[in-house]
């Protein structure tokens, strides 16, 4: 019994939040893509590319003295930024291929995921002569931000500080997206496309623009999520570093009904499942996999319920 209570400590909560961060970013991007009617299954691959780009870019920026920015922390921030740009570029490529040339998105995603996995390891071997893991002592981790006035808030203050900026960014972007979806014109366009593409097109909304936006945006978020893994959480790159987090992000988006706030909460839930599973492994000898299975099975159940309701509604409509 004591063991069981011991699972829930402050460490678990903050480590869960850290574990949830890449999933949150992936889920927000995936949700936006699902709304726009472009299934983006390449988030995992883009995350991997982002992770690699971030650490390599940081490494090359570290002694970039000519314009006086030889600051290691600044190099790390620039690395994250570069990862975002590269992720966004891949998202643009995706959108361009799909919208201009009608390339099948799932097949494209399979190719990109495979390419990301193989190219990153290939380049790691060629550039740094390392097979499994690469790191360099000069690379500095993304610093944690602390604010005394927040951590002094009773009860929840301790869970709200001590993360790096990507964690806060994921929260801010979730809130911003939620507001955008309900309060701005472009948000309503996205909602309309999500409801019915043909109707939205007939109403004069540029579906193409919405889809370009969604894919580029989710690519940028995926790149950032990757950067969080390589320079935010640890300072190394390992083979297949994303290890399926992008796919979990896809699941979380569906779990959260493709809304920004829903995906955020669902991703947090997945993150907590991971955090608790890790903790279980350390503290008890209970199998941690059961906890990790839970969100996956729940996603299928929820999908089934949602689809079933949709199907019944459809039936009723046709009967009338």
């Amino acid at each position: 019994m004591f063991d069981f209570l011991n699972i829930f400590t402050i460490n678990v909560i903050s480590s869960s939040i850290r574990l949830a961060t890449p999933i949150i970013l992936a889920a927000l991007g995936a949700a936006m893509c699902n709304k726009a009617g472009v299934l983006n299954l390449a988030i995992d691959g883009k995350m991997l590319i982002g992770a690699f780009t971030a650490i390599v870019a940081t490494y090359f920026y570290r002694n970039y003295t000519s314009i006086g920015i030889a600051h290691p922390v600044l190099a790390t921030y620039l690395g994250v930024f570069t990862a975002m740009i590269v992720g966004g570029a891949f998202g643009f490529f995706f959108a361009w291929m799909h919208i201009k040339y009608k390339v099948h998105l799932v097949i494209l995603a399979i190719a990109i995921n495979m390419l990301a996995l193989e190219v990153t390891v290939y380049l790691m071997r060629v550039l740094f002569k390392q097979a499994g893991t690469w790191s360099h002592p000069s690379i500095v981790q993304l610093p944690s931000l602390d604010a005394a006035w927040i951590s002094s808030i009773p009860l929840i203050g301790r869970f709200l500080t001590g993360y790096n900026f990507i964690v806060y960014f994921s929260w801010v972007i979730a809130i911003a997206l939620t507001i955008m979806m309900y309060k701005t014109r472009f948000g309503r366009y996205i909602q309309a496309v999500g409801e019915n593409i043909e109707a939205a097109e007939a109403a004069g909304i540029s579906v193409k623009r919405v889809q370009y936006f969604a894919l580029v945006f989710s690519g940028m978020l995926a790149g950032m999520a990757g950067a969080f893994l390589s320079v935010g959480h640890l300072t190394l790159f390992t083979r297949d570093m994303s290890s399926g987090r992008g796919w979990i992000g896809n699941a979380a988006a569906l779990f959260g009904f493709n809304s920004a706030q829903g995906s955020f909460l669902a991703a947090l839930f997945f993150g907590f499942a991971d955090g608790i599973a890790l903790r279980l492994q350390n503290v008890t000898n209970l199998p941690p996999y059961i906890v990790q299975l839970m969100p996956n099975i729940l996603t299928i159940v929820i999908l089934a319920i949602v689809s079933y309701r949709g199907k019944i509604r459809e039936l009723k409509r046709t009967q009338q």
Partner: protein, 370 residues
Amino acid sequence: MKQPSKTMVLAALVPLCALIFGVVITSFFIMLTGVSPFSAFRVLISGAFGTSGKVWPLLITLGQATPLILTGLAAMYSFRVGIFCIAQEGQYVFGAIVAAWLGVALSLPPWLHILVVMAASMIAGGIYGLIPAFLKVKLGVNEIISSIMLNSIAVLVLEYMVAFPLRADQGQKAQSAVLSRDIWLPQFVQGSRWGISFIIAISLAVFAYFHIWKTPKGYELRMVGQAKRFARYGGIKADPTILKTLFLSGMIAGLAGSMEILGNYHRIMTGFSSGLGFDGLSVALLGQSHPFGVVIVAILLSGIRQGAQLGLQISLQVPRELGGVLIAMVILFIAAENVYRPLLDKLYDIINNRLTLIKRKHNVKEVDHV
């Protein structure tokens, strides 16, 4: 002689072009290492399909292609019936788990044991294939999404099984006990992985060809895949056909897992699945969803992987991931066929017009002689 139609010629030209583009792009990656692409590709091919040494590389390639052929066939069945199910990975893993479990747990005469294990794996895979099909048909759940979830569930179950119930010893690595030698599937050449399972895989491909194109059931299957409403109009019940086909597809992927355990690994360990399901998907796509295409592409892909590992990495120090890069590039260019297809189209027309002109001249001359 019957002239090959335009669609047939283009169907062959597109993969060829994709392969050429893929080779060109990977050449740049090879040049990064300072090795000449020509010698690299020569080594790659001899490492993949060579017939020298104690164990021929070609035989190893065929051995490696075996599970790929099966997962490719599984994906092909799913595509043919119009369902984009990508749960082959999960079915493969589940088949393997069941094989590793029953292989140790039962004690039967060897031949019966093998049959029971294979049948059980096939049923396990089949049931795992039924889940997305059922969710799709009855509830309308997107099969791609449900398959993704099922894949991650299968991997988690695998990790659990090898870490706890099936674990052999408390050593470093989580793995199950080795199967008794009696139920190992025989290999034709020791150490090549090329064995009886390859024959089974090829026979299944032939079976799939006759099943899909030469039987009424196969006709129904294709009809449902191509035009669901039309099939219903013609009196074909779409839903049972989809369920049956996906069960069959799952059975094939489950069999792949089973035979990998019985014939190759003889135990199951953590990290057993290495994206074989996704490779099967690529194989089905590149093989134009045709059983013989699947066999050819599966052998080609495992040849590339094999050649990159045995040839490039060992003798030229080019990382073996190059093989995967080449495969991914080819898939990318196949997917992007619309980008360069108009060009091929135009090229075909020009050449075809020239040919007919020449022929017409020929015919005119013959008429003159008469």
